[in-house]
């Protein structure tokens, strides 16, 4: 396909045959490509990174305790509960839908664990299993309302918000609050258990190693297939920077209590969901349905099944988040899942870069977004601000995040990046 017959070159790689494409092969090229993407509105994790730096600087100036290792450990404990809920939100947002009842769902799950385990004496795993099944059932109902009856998810889940809250109050009964035993493994998991230092350092090595190995494997396969591959140097730099950053974070957290197991569970779920979204047919279908539902249907995707999977996953993860919240607070109460849980979970997904309009997002979004949200909430608590101010400020941050999303989307449309 080359138009320059006077320059007989070695056979070009399949994906480099078109001379109109600039080939960003070098490190400088990768950087240039990144800048181009940002300029065209494909912001990636940039807003989050900037946000985190600003938050850290501002809060540590106002109160140096903010950056203390033990405060950050607490922050990670808090992140895990709402973060898990936010992972589910990513799935439904990806379809351009919403679940407004995740807060209530987490409250119901927390109440179920309290009632079934403490009051009725069921074994913990069975009680947790029942809570998760309740989540799946409610997600199934939402998906049925949406796909069979055409009820907008916004309305269906708004109704669900109230109905599930009612169920939570009903099963908690007149006392309204159940304390979970402090010595139980569940509460210890939610409040105390941290990884041994050596283990956390070993775990921090893993992402870099996996990145390097899969990167090398992919590069070898691409070259063998006649495609261009990412240069070795770039891969090494990425893996190196990632490992250094994680090892530093782990070292710093180990100056305090260490890395919470609960955060480890959350991070594992993030990795699993990220894999599912990017490397499986299910994830690809999720993107497709969110981008163009009719096109997805015509290419033979079972659109209805995709909606079912997303809504059920969302409610189930919300229930899991509720169980973790109960463990964190050592209680199941009427307040669980109320207040800002709903909004924080949704805000985390959006701040991390999951589009409200569907078809764009990642599991990292939930992880990064929840760290931003919890950092703000934690910083404001340290300043002894009342919850009235905290709500106002968090609301403002969410508004800014959505504005950034809308502007970036407009820019992407004008730059032809979907």
């Amino acid at each position: 396909m080359s138009n320059q017959p006077q320059k007989p070159l070695a056979p070009k790689a399949l994906d480099r045959a078109d001379e109109r494409v600039r080939n960003d092969d070098s490190i400088a090229g990768a950087l240039r490509g990144f800048l181009d993407r940002v300029r065209s509105g494909d912001l990636g994790i940039l807003p989050v990174a900037v946000g985190l730096v600003v938050i850290s600087v501002v809060f540590s100036m106002l109160n140096p305790v903010f950056l203390a290792p033990n405060n950050l450990v607490n922050l990670l404990f808090d992140c895990a509960t709402v973060g898990v809920i936010s992972l589910g939100i990513v799935c439904v947002l990806m379809l351009g839908e919403i679940d407004l009842s995740v807060g209530s769902m987490s409250g119901l799950a927390s109440a179920m664990v309290g009632v079934l385990w403490v009051n009725m004496g069921w074994p913990i795993p069975v009680a947790i299993g029942a809570a998760l099944i309740a989540g799946a059932v409610i997600g199934f109902i939402y998906a049925t309302l949406y796909t069979r009856l055409g009820m907008p998810s916004f309305i269906a889940t708004l109704a669900g918000l109230l109905a599930i809250l009612g169920m939570q109050l009903y099963i908690l009964g007149p006392t309204g609050s159940i304390n979970l035993p402090y010595a139980s493994p569940l509460v210890r998991f939610g409040q105390l258990m941290v990884m041994p230092a050596w283990f956390s350092h070993a775990v921090a090595l893993l992402p870099g190693i996996v990145l390097l190995l899969t990167g090398l494997g992919t590069a070898a396969r691409r070259r063998a297939a006649g495609l261009t591959a990412q240069p070795m140097s770039l891969l090494l730099i990425k893996a190196g920077v990632l490992t250094a950053a994680l090892e530093f974070a782990v070292w710093y957290l180990n100056l305090g209590r260490g890395v919470p197991w609960m955060f480890g569970l959350f991070a594992l779920l993030v990795v699993v969901l990220q894999y599912a979204l990017t490397r499986t047919k299910w994830g690809r279908s999720l993107f497709a349905v969110g981008g163009n539902r009719e096109a997805a249907r015509r290419s033979g995707i079972n659109v209805r099944r995709i909606y079912y999977s997303a809504f059920m996953l969302c409610s189930t993860l919300a229930a899991l988040g509720g169980v973790l919240a109960a463990a964190r607070l050592a209680s199941s109460s009427q307040q669980a899942g109320t207040g800002d849980v709903n909004l924080n979970a949704i805000a985390a997904a959006v701040i991390g870069g999951t589009s409200l309009f569907g078809g764009r997002g990642s599991a990292w979004a939930a992880l990064l977004g929840i760290i931003v949200i919890q950092a703000i909430s934690n910083g404001l608590t340290l300043l002894n601000l009342s919850s009235s101010l905290r709500y106002m400020i968090t609301g403002g941050v969410l508004a800014i995040a959505v504005i950034v999303d809308s502007l970036a989307r407009q820019s992407r449309v004008t730059h032809g990046r979907g």
Binding site: T280, F287, A295, S299, G416
Partner: protein
């Protein structure tokens, strides 16, 4: 476009009997009869609103017919979903292309039929995408850009490439050349002939009589949702236009006679 020998040439692949489709009070299609044989290009022509696209959507499983039967390879089939049509081997390039703009070219080509569902084989899919696009002599700069960044013609090519990916037995193209440049139009027509020579049945919808004549073995005219004659490519323009518009005295013939009169003056 992998090896797919579809029986003997001339075998009847698709046969529609009495297909009707009503949208409420509107009869979009009434008693349509249509046969497609292996190794044959059938052109569907007709004015705007003649029911061509509706017929294509019925065959693609997007719309379900109100009445009538569809026979595919001698068996009566129900095309109740796009997946059913695709699995039988009826591939469609829709007029609106039906691409996901947020996904890249590779993802769109393989949508719903990804290699290795639990660990997507991106390398193989990309190689296959490049080979396929090369066969179509497509000028796509990069298969890793979202489809949103492609031009109309490039999107058309991607849509055609996608329909061929599954080695279908019948392929339907709804206005495949409407958005294409001169060279790509010729490529698409070449491609249609190549596909036909492999023994596939091709249904092509086009408003461009020149293209239709160039490739079609039979020209089926629809008018107001009904069959209105079957022609061979050597039928005169006058006959075709008359069948399409339903009158020997029509805008086209009036214009021609006026032009002729101007020349003789």
């Amino acid at each position: 476009m992998s090896g797919n020998e579809t029986g003997r040439a001339g075998e009847r692949l698709l046969s529609l009997r009495g297909i009707s489709k009503k949208f409420g009070a509107v009869s979009a299609l009434t008693d349509i009869e249509l046969d497609v044989h292996a190794g044959e290009v059938v052109a569907l022509v007709g004015d705007n609103g003649a029911g061509k696209s509706t017929l294509v959507k019925v065959l693609a499983g997007v719309h379900q017919p109100t009445a009538g039967t569809v026979e595919f390879m001698g068996r009566e089939v129900t095309l109740d979903s796009p997946a059913a049509a695709l699995n039988l081997g009826i591939a469609t390039v829709f007029q609106d292309l039906a691409l996901c703009e947020n996904l890249d070219v590779v993802a769109n080509l393989f949508l719903g039929h990804e290699m290795n569902p639990w660990q997507l084989d991106e390398v193989q899919m990309e190689v296959r995408a490049w080979t396929l696009l090369r066969e179509l002599a497509a000028r796509i700069p990069s298969v890793r850009e979202p489809v949103a960044s492609l031009s109309g013609g490039q999107r058309q090519t991607v849509a055609i490439a996608r329909s061929l990916l599954l080695s279908p037995k019948v392929i339907m193209l709804d206005e495949p050349t409407a958005a294409l440049g001169v060279a790509q139009t010729a490529e698409v027509l070449n491609l249609i002939e190549r596909v036909r020579d492999r023994g596939l049945g091709v249904i092509i919808i086009s408003h461009n009589m020149e293209d239709v004549r160039a490739v079609a073995d039979r020209i089926v005219v629809l008018r107001l949702g009904r069959n209105n004659g079957v022609f061979t490519p050597d039928a005169s323009n006058h006959e075709l236009v008359a069948a399409i518009t339903g009158a020997t005295e029509n805008a086209v013939s009036r214009r021609e006679s006026r032009k002729a009169a101007e020349v003789t003056e």
